[in-house]
Amino acid sequence: MATLSPAVSDQRPRPGMAKPPIAALVLCLLGHLALVAFLLAWWREETAAPFAYRLLLGLAVAVGGIGVGGIARHLARHQLDPVRAFVPALLTLLFGLLALEAVLRAYAVPPGLWPTPSAVFARLWTARRVLLADAWQTFVLEAVVGFGIGVGWALPTALLVARCPFLQRGFMPYAAAFASIPIPAMAPVAVHMFGLGWPSKAAVVAVTVYFPVVVNSVRGLLEVDRNLLDLMRSYAADERTTFWRVRIPNALPFLFTALKLGTALAMIGAIVGEFFGATGQGLGFRIQIEAGRFGFDMVWAAILVASLLGIAWFGLIAGLERRFTGWHVSLRE
């Protein structure tokens, strides 16, 4: 998780570990226990909790929050390995979910307005078949296939443009302009051309992925250090050797940046594309239909599935990036 938290904070950690923050740990534990106790006591109730309960709940949230913050502040003062650096984030998530669940139950917020986290997880389990079929449609058939087609077209285009200065001046401005077409504007056109099934959404995804990959790859192929080109010249290397030994490796980091951006764009394209017409399947279709009839537990479950798939895909590309461009400055420790 170290890659997920680039160091932006100003405070410099000190090496070594001081004595554990007993007070913060106790407060954190107290807060969590109080929340769990309340949830156990109020699990089956449908009505809002009495005032005294809600007061205690507020106290528990405050105490637990201070405790979690204290632990984070304690850990922040030290040099951390990646696992321990992730503890505050994990604690925050756990505490946040518990507090949300407790507050929603204490005020008896109707599930049509804001479902409790437990309702979302329960829906995730009970609707797993539907959601898996949706994920297959949206993620595999639309996002991944579209991404593959888009990248498959983009790479030859980039190679062609990089070889041909005329196209650099004649094509690249259009590519940059096309990259700024909002995805939802393309979806109705694609749905009309390719029908309601998954190919129309794959087409939208392919077009949205195509332009950033072309633009970035061309930049990577062209923005090569002059010294390296001169060095290759002094080796009397021919065009092709220079291309394979200098230009391609130079383009890889640019390409991977575009691919990582492309995973997010592909998920957005597939989901938004389904808002304009689908065959009764797909995460975007599910989200739109269920939001329209206030089935927000299903909406959140679908969003959760889409997010997990998106993060896993992004992680896969980031892993490939580390594997293939590990020599690059940005990845060296």
Partner: protein, 286 residues
């Protein structure tokens, strides 16, 4: 001067001409079967051969350039009409710009917290970064319904969705920007006994502006998507998203193409505006 301008425009025009030269036969090929069928059914069309009719179909597979031009004219005049592109594009632009400003304001507060407190960074930053890979636009239909329940209606919920989408890249960009002054500059401020507030005002905030604008340019397109999806997911009375969903329901093919072009133009214009503001605000960069 004239020569260099020609050198810049020449390739663009040639590529446009080639694209046109490919597009016209494509229109004929794509529309020919439909045109033949429509003629055989005896529909009244302003043409007599199937070949000529490929340019005049009511619902073509690919709209012909003359139809696109006609569609643009029909949808832009008068500019203030409720069905006209300029008025609707204006509302979508307002939503996007308000959303971006909102995102920049909240993002700035978060960025300052991130820079000042490592505890906050450890607790929150992983989720901010992870959420960048989440298709946040999926939240739009839900947010619109939810905000509507609390009485937030009109253009504001769309601006909030746009802000929500633009928020994460802007926050990360600003945090990096606030962090960008090098050690020496910070040490110099220290030797002058500057307070944290002064360091922010004199050093960190000016240093973060280029990062802010880079992030803004990235997130303008995303915010526009958010505004459009927001308009689609609820009852709207203005905006390109409203026009899109109306057109998709009516399946007016020429209209959807014209709208796509209009959305693209709006996206390009908004990014150009951000670029212009950047030049005005950070003149020392040029």
């Amino acid at each position: 001067m004239r020569h260099s301008r020609l050198a810049a425009w020449g390739p663009l025009l040639v590529v446009a001409a080639v694209a046109m030269a490919i597009y016209l036969p494509l229109v004929v090929v794509a529309n020919y079967p439909l045109a033949a069928r429509t003629l055989a059914r005896g529909a009244t069309l302003p043409c007599d051969s199937a070949l000529a009719c490929t340019f005049f179909l009511r619902n073509p597979v690919l709209p012909a350039p003359n139809q696109l031009l006609g569609g643009i004219l029909a949808l832009s005049w008068p500019p203030g009409a409720p069905y006209a592109l300029p008025l609707n594009a204006w509302w979508t632009a307002i939503e996007t710009v308000v959303g971006l400003s909102l995102a920049a304001t909240v993002g700035f507060l978060f960025a300052v917290l991130l820079v000042l407190s490592r505890a906050f960074q450890l607790s929150v930053l992983p989720w901010i970064v992870a959420s960048q890979t989440v298709p946040i636009v999926a939240l739009a239909p839900m947010l619109v319904v939810l905000l509507g329940r609390y009485g937030v209606q009109g253009w504001l919920p769309k601006a909030i969705i746009a802000a929500y989408i633009a928020f994460f890249p802007i926050t990360i960009g600003l945090a990096k920007g606030l962090q960008s002054p090098d050690r020496l500059a910070l040490d110099l401020m220290k030797t002058w006994n500057a307070t944290t507030f002064q360091v922010f005002m004199r050093l960190r905030i000016p240093a973060s502006l280029p990062f802010l604008f880079t992030a803004l340019k990235v997130s303008t397109a995303a915010a526009l998507i958010g505004a459009i999806v927001g308009e689609m997911s609820t009852i709207s009375f203005a905006g390109l998203g409203k026009m899109l969903s109306e057109n998709a329901r009516a399946s007016d093919v020429v209209g959807t193409w014209v709208l796509m072009l209009a959305c693209a133009l709006l996206g390009i214009l908004l990014i150009a505006v951000v670029d212009l503001v950047e030049r005005l605000v950070t003149p020392w960069r040029r």
